[in-house]
Subunit: 176 residues, 4 copies
């Protein structure tokens, strides 16, 4: 396995974070696990051109968000070049464009793209069950985040537990 960066993409409440924790547990080397949520939490609480969530769970981001996100992304790539192995869970609100953004930043850092699928009605139920997310995000994002994205491996969290998804991903990594 020569990959240094794993990008796990899926809609809100599709189960990405749990899959990342299981993946860290099953992979033989220590991998750092970050999330785009960590980046959002690092932003000032109020900010012009930042992130806004509409009444139906629509997420929109402004230019200041994009600038700082580019700096964050560059930092993640440096962590890989500096000897780290990094898993990032992200939400490709821009679909294929979001993937291109990571590919451009990664350059020759070997990257594996993982798609986490979950039907919108299942994700909406999980959003309600977890109780800490704005309602509507799960349904809004379930399909749009995968539009035009090319994956190295895809899992379906409505058909397999987080640990089983992690094992499928790990098996793919060791094969390549």
């Amino acid at each position: 396995m020569t990959a240094r960066l794993i990008i796990v993409n899926g809609g809100s409440s599709s189960g990405k974070t749990g899959i990342v924790r299981c993946l860290q547990a099953v992979l033989p080397e220590p991998w750092l696990g970050f999330s785009v949520d960590d980046f959002v939490d690092a932003l000032p609480a109020t900010m012009d051109g930042g992130l806004e969530i509409g009444p139906g769970g629509e997420v929109s981001v402004g230019p200041a968000f994009r600038e700082l996100e580019a700096a964050w992304t560059a930092g993640i790539i440096t962590m890989c070049r500096a000897g780290g192995r990094v898993i990032v869970d992200d939400v490709f609100l821009g679909g294929a464009k979001s993937q291109q953004r990571w590919q451009d930043a990664a350059g020759d850092v070997e990257t594996v793209f993982v798609g986490v699928h979950c039907p919108p009605e299942i994700a909406a139920g999980r959003e309600l069950a977890r109780g800490d997310r704005e309602r509507g995000m799960a349904e809004q994002q379930a399909y749009v985040v995968h539009e035009g994205v090319a994956y190295d491996i895809e899992v379906d969290s409505s058909r397999a537990e987080s640990m089983e998804c992690a094992r499928q991903i790990a098996a793919h990594l060791t094969r390549t």
Copy 2:
């Protein structure tokens, strides 16, 4: 103000995180706020050579921790070089050596070092009041993290609220 990186150092429960949030609110530009706790949370839950907390709150870290920490630090510096402004709250368990580590990584990125002081008995009370930290860490770290460290500005969180400490730091930044 030309600084791109602010390192806020203090013992556990000295009030660093609250000061960083206030600092993000009072500074005119958007600054990203990260913590060494974010790095610790990014590690696998169990890891050889990782971080251990002893029964009295003594924190010790192994070689795998140090390697990944170096990668994380390099990533933070890249975020500054790529146009971001970053505040990091850290705990200099190695005192002056920990500061040197940041200075070596930062190179020519303009860095401001902030010391957050809090007497051990006050920090221990806050540790108990917050209820989510291993008991004893506050007392263990109160003095040792400042040993041999040279600061650009120092605040005392037992004598001033987080917001007041943030204003003192912001005033220093705009003067320089």
Copy 3:
């Protein structure tokens, strides 16, 4: 539906809390949702005769815990008698004895017992995925909490999502 109290019993990481949130959402009247974890969080951080978690996830509780738990249980029953509808998620570490404790306290308050099953290997994976529970509890508790317990309705969280389990429970409640 005349029930005033629903006791949801299952091992750690079997998915009880998510099922309770979904149940609150699908039931027509407002139900209060409490957990034995709320009671544990209400205890002093350190206490003689309290709750201890062993290295393999074994939970043991002392006499002071049992006395305060009896007071808490009596309080929950009063909430039902005073016009509230209450769902409690609990972990019957004592199996049939734990159920008897609730039955004795409830008296003539109409109570529905719900069993949440989840095979130990699945619960252990979820424990790892959520990342905030002592490892081993899920496996320790998966079967023992159901020993000798008589349920009004049982669900299996490894075969149905939280929302689907909640709908099964709600359907049972409206039938009776």
Copy 4:
């Protein structure tokens, strides 16, 4: 000390929860610590006649909230009568009326009322520093919650740490 119930009243971000944790640590017997926030968390996520927070941090509650709150309060009093010792942190949005509500429910259960004062500008700074509360609540509530309320003991969290406030309260309890 014969009190069985301690009601700690203060505005949002005045430091009540930290004072309660310290009080549990310094009192010789085990006391249960609950908060009106626990009650709010027990409500269904969406509910007609529940709790709403306005854009400036104004909290308003409807009839369904009041009914369930009365049931919760009755349950707390039962916990005291059943042998428990209970500390509740509350926000007296109705001032003297909120106190009367507790007095009526408590009957002959010996109750101690504690007032936690904190100037609005200090509480607003702490609200920002903690980063997990709707902005504006601290300032809205700082004075109104104390209107017409009679206390057994009062503390000022802007002049003393949580632990020192707890010691003042504990000293009062042992004197009476």
